[in-house]
């Protein structure tokens, strides 16, 4: 039984059982009804050595094919600086629990404070929490905030141009929470403002959710949206890609009350979908509706600056039967990831990331159109993601690309393909991707 994760020797166990006053380890479970005591062996693999486990995962990994990524749709292949994994692996960060004892958790508390500061800079909204699970759940919780703020109103509008993965989760949360979710139809790839106004006029609306860039990669013009939403005493919620906020109008500049989304775009590996990190920011007026953990600055008894979990007298701590959120653990370590990323990149680096992505995406767009097999799906401004219509068979195309090591052009509607280009893609990769079209 001497396994390396258990320090107990036979003699230790004897000595401990004696102190407790029982004969055997089984005696520690004497109160469990005999019919439910597990006496068999688990149908699990036998214990493997480190060498065997390494081999196992290497072999398992060979069943995957890493591809050159030209797809986003909610997860983007951005550059990840090498210092970040090194720093977040420090066990003082990695193996700590939630910072409930602030005197020995200033490391965690301080980076969360820095994370909140940076996300508030990007969104332009004063208050940000310690992080959410991912973009879709952050958006669902933003919806809860709107409903909680509106007291009796239980209807929320969501634009059809919001990413379908986000939409699915928001729809699920709304259903169980008793919220009526209505979709605002799209027009030319953008939220139909007139339709939104019509739905707002019908009344009972607590909030309106839109996205920037939207599910087609389009940068929508939200001029007049916040005014229309606020006129009905509802909240304007913007799901925004934070990486783009270095260059695009911030949620606050659009008049949004809440910003939410996935911060995976801030240099995080794709990791087959997770861990990523959601963010949730809001105006000062809404801070007491903001779920999850929030860190504030304060002083200790000696007057030293320090950080602490604050505004905890909410949600599941008090009035837990009436809670609007149940989030506890979030994605703290990934918030640290984002904080280090933004420290390294700064506003200049983030601007360059967007410039490179913009250039690459627009080059690919033009090259695709130049083949004569593609036409624009919309004629709207975009940054790193865009949709085009093709006359070719999407399946055949995708198969061709896959055989040659590319993941590109997912089909989002009949004959409409979505592409994404980040700063990681080179001109050679783009040229190769386009050249392959001729072989189809």
């Amino acid at each position: 039984m001497n396994y390396k994760y258990f320090p107990h020797t036979e003699a230790d166990i004897e000595q401990m059982l004696q102190r407790i006053g029982v004969q055997s380890l089984d005696d520690l479970y004497a109160e469990i009804p005999a019919s439910v005591v597990w006496k068999k062996e688990y149908a699990l693999p036998s214990s493997m050595s480190e060498l065997e486990i390494r081999n196992y995962f290497t072999e398992l990994g060979k069943k995957n094919c890493p591809l050159t990524i030209f797809v986003g749709a909610g997860a983007y292949d951005h550059y990840a600086p090498s210092v970040i994994p090194q720093l977040i692996s420090r066990s003082e960060f990695l193996t700590a629990y939630t910072p409930y004892q602030p005197e020995i958790s200033q490391g965690t508390l301080q980076y969360i404070f820095e994370f909140q500061s940076m996300m508030s800079e990007l969104t332009g909204l004063e208050c940000t929490n310690a992080s959410m699970y991912d973009g879709p759940t952050a958006t669902a919780e933003a919806m809860f905030m709107a409903v909680a703020s509106a007291k009796k109103k239980k209807k929320v509008l969501i634009s059809e141009t919001v990413n379908p993965n986000v939409m699915r989760v928001v729809r699920t949360y709304a259903f169980y929470h008793g919220i009526t979710l209505e979709t605002i139809a799209e027009k030319d790839g953008c939220t139909d403002k007139a339709e939104m106004e019509r739905l707002l006029q019908a009344g009972e609306v607590a909030g309106v959710i839109a996205a920037s860039p939207n599910k087609y990669g389009i940068i929508e013009d939200f001029t007049g949206f916040a005014e229309a939403v606020h006129a009905q005493k509802a909240l304007f919620i913007l799901n925004a890609d934070p990486s783009t906020l270095a260059v695009l109008k911030s949620p606050a500049e659009w008049g949004a009350d809440i910003a939410c989304g996935d911060a995976q775009t801030l240099g995080m590996p794709l990791n087959f979908g997770g861990p990523y990190v959601g963010y949730l920011s809001c105006t000062k007026e809404l801070v007491r509706k903001l779920p999850g953990r929030i860190v504030g600055a304060t002083k200790d008894v000696d007057g030293k600056r320090a950080f602490v979990l604050t505004l905890q007298a909410r949600e599941q701590h008090i009035r837990r039967e009436k809670a609007n959120s149940n989030i506890c653990s979030n994605q703290s370590l990934m918030a640290l990831y984002v904080t280090i990323y933004l420290s390294l990149m700064g506003k200049q680096g983030l601007r360059e990331v967007n410039e490179l992505s913009y250039s690459g995406a627009h080059y690919l767009y033009e090259q695709l159109l130049a083949t004569g097999k593609f036409t624009p799906a919309f004629n709207k401004p975009f940054l790193k993601e865009f949709a085009v219509r093709t006359t070719l068979c999407p399946k055949t195309l995708q198969e061709k690309w896959k055989e040659n090591g590319f993941f590109a052009g997912i089909e989002i509607a009949d004959g409409v393909l979505l592409f994404s280009v980040t700063e990681k893609r080179t001109k050679e990769e783009i040229d190769r991707l386009v050249a392959l079209i001729k072989e189809v």
Partner: protein, 488 residues
């Protein structure tokens, strides 16, 4: 070591940079083309620092933290066991980290296989039919599990069932999850011996009950000995049993929730299956269900064809979707590494050794600390403050004093059944020497409370910062560097 007190913003100097990017060879396409109305106008205040500034800053910041690797962390209900390093190495393999979640199935067979195998390993140790690994954390698992519970009743047309029973000893997230899921909470009392009062439960059971949420062993670390009767009663009234897996650790090798009659459960992979807590996530909260509920698990599902090929499926009976993709995949790699490391031979020792450690501490300290319920505990137990109530030293003081001695504090003031709860969970990865030293320090603190209560009441004395002004922090929130600048 020098005390480090800078924020990254305070290192910033205009013109410094911490990155390199390739030169833009496609400059003819420039963001300048974008309409001005879509562009950001407000200045963006991010730090301008060199790479080494960043490395040294976060290294210094980390030194103000305490992790499991730093020292003993007897935080009740959190299962702060050793986080094996091999788990981290496997989770960092590029063959997994570079995969886009929407890649064609035939290019991610290894990742899908891992998801599938880990889910099945969890089902085996839980005695349930199938698991989804999509939920991101324990509380998220609770919410997901309750969605499954509601969906089961809804699809049977049994729409009256809108109440869920929660014991008064439950984790705080249980009622919060139920409320978020649109369920009404009905509380059931505990008996003198800390277990659910079955007589109090009986009159609550009618056709409006969707189910009951239980933790077993409960938050006092006590096994619910009447579980079979409870299961029978709840099922007889048409309700389902939800198992809060936060306390699963002591049952490994001894007992399976499914065999006790539970229909739905979540597992905290970051507790029982050794993945790091990361200062509050990323965790993973897989949800498992009995055979009749499999179709209601949230989308997407990972399935295996008869020919051994794995695929992703979205079922139309599912309770919805709770995640953008397939959950915290990186955490699953770590959890599965742990299962393969221990194997069936060692995993069955986790529960007994965790239980042994907990009882050893309990028996060693019950003279100095008040033990409200004398019984064999499982992985954790609860003291109600010091045995000597005359000193005026509170549980908070004891917790803070432990920090001076190099320990993380136990969980305090939870469960709410007692006024001065001190909840201790040592886990199976601690040695008798570590436990003996901790026991010794706990006794020293109890003695200090008598001889020099002031030193305990004003603790900690040796930590990077001392007790904080939490009242001002809440009354006058300073939540960002910009807020902080306004203070000066």
């Amino acid at each position: 070591m020098k005390y480090y007190d800078k924020l990254i913003f305070e290192l910033s100097k205009e013109g410094r940079r911490g990155y390199t990017l390739p030169e833009n060879r496609l400059k003819q396409y420039s963001m300048e083309e974008l309409p001005a109305s879509l562009k950001r106008e407000k200045e963006l205040m991010l730090p301008e620092v060199s790479e080494f500034d960043v490395v040294r800053h976060y290294t210094n910041v980390s030194n103000k933290n305490f992790g499991v690797d730093t020292g003993f962390y007897p935080l009740g209900s959190c299962t702060m066991k050793y986080n094996p390093k091999l788990n981290e190495e496997m989770a960092a393999l590029p063959a997994f980290t570079s995969l886009h979640p929407l890649q064609p199935e035939d290019t991610v067979q290894g990742a899908l296989e891992l998801y599938y195998r880990f889910a099945h390993a969890l089902a085996e140790v839980s005695g349930l039919a199938e698991f989804t690994l999509n939920p991101f954390a324990g509380a998220h698992g609770e919410l997901t599990g309750l969605m499954v519970m509601r969906q089961y009743h809804i699809q049977r047309g049994d729409l009256k069932r809108t109440k869920v029973i929660v014991p008064n000893s439950a984790h705080g997230t249980n009622p919060a999850s139920a409320a978020v899921c649109g369920l009404e909470i009905v509380e059931v009392k505990s008996k003198e011996n800390g277990r659910i009062d079955v007589e109090d439960l009986k009159p609550l059971l009618d056709d409006t009950i969707a189910g009951i949420m239980m933790t077993n062993p409960n938050t006092l670390g006590l096994f619910e000995t009447e579980i079979l009767e409870i299961a029978q009663l709840v099922h007889a009234c048409g309700g389902l049993l939800y198992y809060d897996g936060a306390n699963l650790n002591p049952l490994l090798g001894k007992c399976r929730p499914g065999d006790m009659g539970f229909d739905i459960m979540h597992i905290n992979v970051h507790k029982t299956f050794s993945t790091p807590h990361g200062g509050g996530g990323p965790g993973s909260g897989p949800v498992g269900v009995a055979p009749a509920l499999v179709d209601y698990l949230p989308n997407p599902h990972v399935k295996k064809r008869a020919d051994g090929v794995f695929y992703v499926e979205n079922g139309d009976k599912a309770s919805g979707s709770v995640s953008g993709f397939l959950g915290n995949f990186g955490v699953m790699v770590r959890g599965y590494t742990y299962i393969l490391s221990l194997g069936k031979e060692n995993i069955k020792m986790v529960g007994p050794l965790a239980t042994l450690n907990a009882n050893y501490i309990k028996e060693s300290l019950k003279e100095e600390y008040y033990l409200p319920i004398e019984d064999i505990c499982k992985h954790e137990f609860v003291f109600d403050g010091l045995a000597d109530k005359s000193t005026g030293v509170t549980t908070l003081d004891i917790a803070k004093r432990l920090l001076d001695y190099g320990y993380h504090a136990p969980t305090i003031y939870f469960p709410l059944l007692f006024h001065q709860s001190i909840m201790i969970e040592p886990t199976e990865t601690e040695s008798i020497e570590t436990l003996d030293e901790f026991i010794h320090v706990m006794k020293v603190v109890a003695q200090e409370a008598k001889d020099d209560p002031e030193s305990v009441r004003t603790a900690p004395h040796t930590t990077p910062v001392r007790r904080l002004d939490e009242t001002t922090a809440a009354k006058h929130p300073i939540l960002s560097y910009r807020d902080l600048l306004k203070e000066v």
